[in-house]
């Protein structure tokens, strides 16, 4: 199984992996508390300060898959992939504005998930269920992609490619997964929070070294951009016929004029979708106070800087002569060729650990949704905190197992397609959550109808996209209705969703349909740590009002 693996690379890699495994289990004792409640297991005691939250949310948003997929798009000649940078700029002002309100109302009422808020605000278990199921559905393929990212690294290391046995080939992935599942089960959100320190430190070191060292080895940025331009021009000239026939996509180092709307809409749509994902809400709700969120909105862009530099490594790989069939292997392969073995080991460990952190948070978030908005809402309405915690722990295992089956049984392309759909789907929960933070004007049934239309329309649009290699789900862009301009599907579906929600609100109000009882009070959206109902005892390291 490991015949052609460099011993030093493997040694460093295994050492770091063992280190985070120990940390993961030790996390159960960190800020010691009774882990038999969802506040403790699923939100880490709601007591994380600015420093920890920075690592946790950073580890949550900038996943291993991001670090592999974004440079891969540039390597493959699609500069539109660089939209990840404006996307991760645009998202923070939005977090700054919206999420402190969600934090306040969630603390006052003990909400653990975004669907909890929707339930409390709109008094509709149906709408809350829709939000919860969308969250679970969108999160599963996201977890699966973390596994895809992990496997890419293992392949470049030479692990799991040489044996004829399917089981032996996938054994390293099974081990990594079993370990992840075990410490998430025992430590909850504390595990990824603690491991994120190691992960982010490693990632920072690796990327800073990579962007300072490798370009100079390859001949400097001038030379890199010139080489890449030549390489793309050559490709376009050689494949001119195929491009004209629509069988190949032309390559470019920058988005062509016609792709500018695509670029902007991908950035905006992804930014709006990002903080609707259950795992980002989980990260945000685990913080100690409103100001922690705002401070982090100003501090987290440091990761975006890293991502921008990392994305360009896709071009560096071309200039360095890296030749791989699967573009996702370009950056790991670049590391393997350019770094000394021990540092390559550090780099690979950084990416794999970088997959474990978000995978853990995502599975916790999905499990919380299940527990609060399906189990407690429909199955056991009198669930005790302990039953809730047990339920979540077990479901977090199932979710991860499901993601594993996904990656192994279905094609990787399928996981990537579903991830694309996940973005389209999760954005459809925005009206209920974000607009609900400000006003209850939209009627609950209108929101539900808008959600259903957005989901169906978005899925149908995505189904109809063909690419040179796939008949369906070939990409995230379609022509905006009535135009020839390509735009991100999620945004088009979102607009349809909003139109339906607004139109039906007028209808339902005219019909005087019951609007339900609002559990929240205007003051709830401003409450901060220590105010009545926002319990400081959740800070385990400080006695109340010490």
């Amino acid at each position: 199984m490991i015949d052609n693996v460099n011993g030093v690379v493997l040694g460093v890699f295994v050492f770091l992996f063992l280190l985070v495994t120990v940390l993961g289990f030790a996390a159960a004792r960190w800020r010691r508390a009774d882990l038999d409640s969802l506040d403790e297991w699923g939100l880490g005691g709601r007591g994380f300060g600015t420093f920890i939250a920075w690592f946790l949310i950073g580890g949550d948003i900038y996943t291993a898959y991001t670090f592999i997929a974004v440079p891969a798009t540039l390597y493959a000649g699609s500069a539109v992939g660089f939209f990840a940078v404006p996307y991760t700029i645009v998202v923070y002002p939005l977090i700054f504005l919206f999420l402190p309100r969600l934090w306040s109302v969630s603390h006052r009422h003990g909400y653990v998930t975004p669907a909890d808020f929707v339930q409390g605000r709109y008094d509709s278990r149906g709408l809350a269920l829709a939000v919860a199921l969308t969250g679970i559905l969108a999160t599963m393929p996201y977890i699966a992609l973390q596994l895809v990212g992990m496997e890419v690294v293992l392949q470049v290391m030479g692990i799991g490619t040489t044996s004829d046995s399917w089981f032996v080939n996938h054994l390293p992935l099974f081990i990594a997964f079993a370990v992840l599942a075990a410490y998430t089960y025992s430590s909850g959100l504390r595990a990824p929070a603690l491991i994120a320190f190691v992960k982010d430190t490693l990632i920072y070191i690796v990327i800073i070294v990579a962007v300072l060292y490798i370009p100079s080895q390859v001949g400097g940025w001038d030379h890199i951009f010139a080489t890449v331009t030549d390489s793309f021009d050559t490709f376009n000239a050689e494949n001119a016929d195929a491009i004209a026939a629509g069988e190949a996509t032309p390559k470019a180092i920058m988005p062509p004029d016609v792709a500018q709307w695509a670029y902007a809409s991908l950035a905006l749509g992804s930014a709006l979708a990002l903080f609707m994902y259950p795992h980002s809400v989980t990260g945000v709700l685990s913080t100690r106070s409103r100001s922690v969120i705002r401070r982090n909105a100003a501090l987290l862009p440091a990761y975006s800087f890293l991502l921008g530099l990392l994305a360009l490594l896709g071009f560096v790989a071309i200039a360095a002569g890296v030749k791989v069939e699967n573009p996702q292997q370009s950056v790991p392969q670049l590391f393997e060729e350019q770094f000394s073995p021990w540092f390559a080991g550090v780099a690979f460990a950084a990416i794999v650990i970088g997959a474990l952190v978000p995978a853990a948070i995502m599975s916790i978030a999905a499990a919380n949704l299940w527990t609060r908005n399906v189990y407690r809402a429909f199955i056991n309405r009198a669930a005790t905190p302990q039953q809730e915690a047990t339920q979540s722990k077990v479901v977090s295992l199932l979710v991860k197992f499901g993601a594993l089956v996904f990656v192994l049984a279905l094609s990787k392309d399928f996981a990537i397609n579903l991830q694309l759909l996940g973005g389209v789907w999760i954005l459809q929960t925005l009206p209920a959550i974000v607009i609900g933070l400000y006003t209850r004007w939209l009627h609950r049934w209108a929101l539900l109808a808008g959600w259903a239309v957005g989901m169906a329309y978005g899925t149908w649009l995505a189904y109809g996209v063909a690419s040179p290699v796939q008949e369906h789900f070939g990409g995230p862009l379609v022509n905006f209705p009535g135009t020839e301009t390509k735009v991100y599907i999620a945004l088009i579906a979102f607009i349809a969703n909003l139109l339906v929600a607004v139109a039906l609100t007028f209808v339902f109000r005219a019909m005087k349909l019951d609007e339900g009882v609002d559990q929240t009070h205007p003051q709830d959206f401003h409450a901060d740590m220590g105010d009545a109902g926002v319990d400081p005892e959740l800070r385990p390291e400080v006695a109340p009002h010490a």
């Binding site: 504005l97 100003a298 003051q523 901060d528």
Partner: protein
Amino acid sequence: MLIIALLAPAVAIPLWVPLYDRVDPRLGGFPFFFWFQIAMIGVAVVLTSLALVVAAKVTRLDRVAHGLSPEPPDAS
């Protein structure tokens, strides 16, 4: 309102693609397209930090307007 005015450019400029989808002027070998967006990260950080200062004041007013004490009892 001041907060929104501060944050608006950090959202609008990165989405205004025609503004920066060009090669020149280059900086240190980087086409404008790339270095401009990376520089925008710094601009966004500065704007968000300013908004943070303003928000501290606005939050106090908001809290009083909603019947809460000006400072959270357990500020941290």
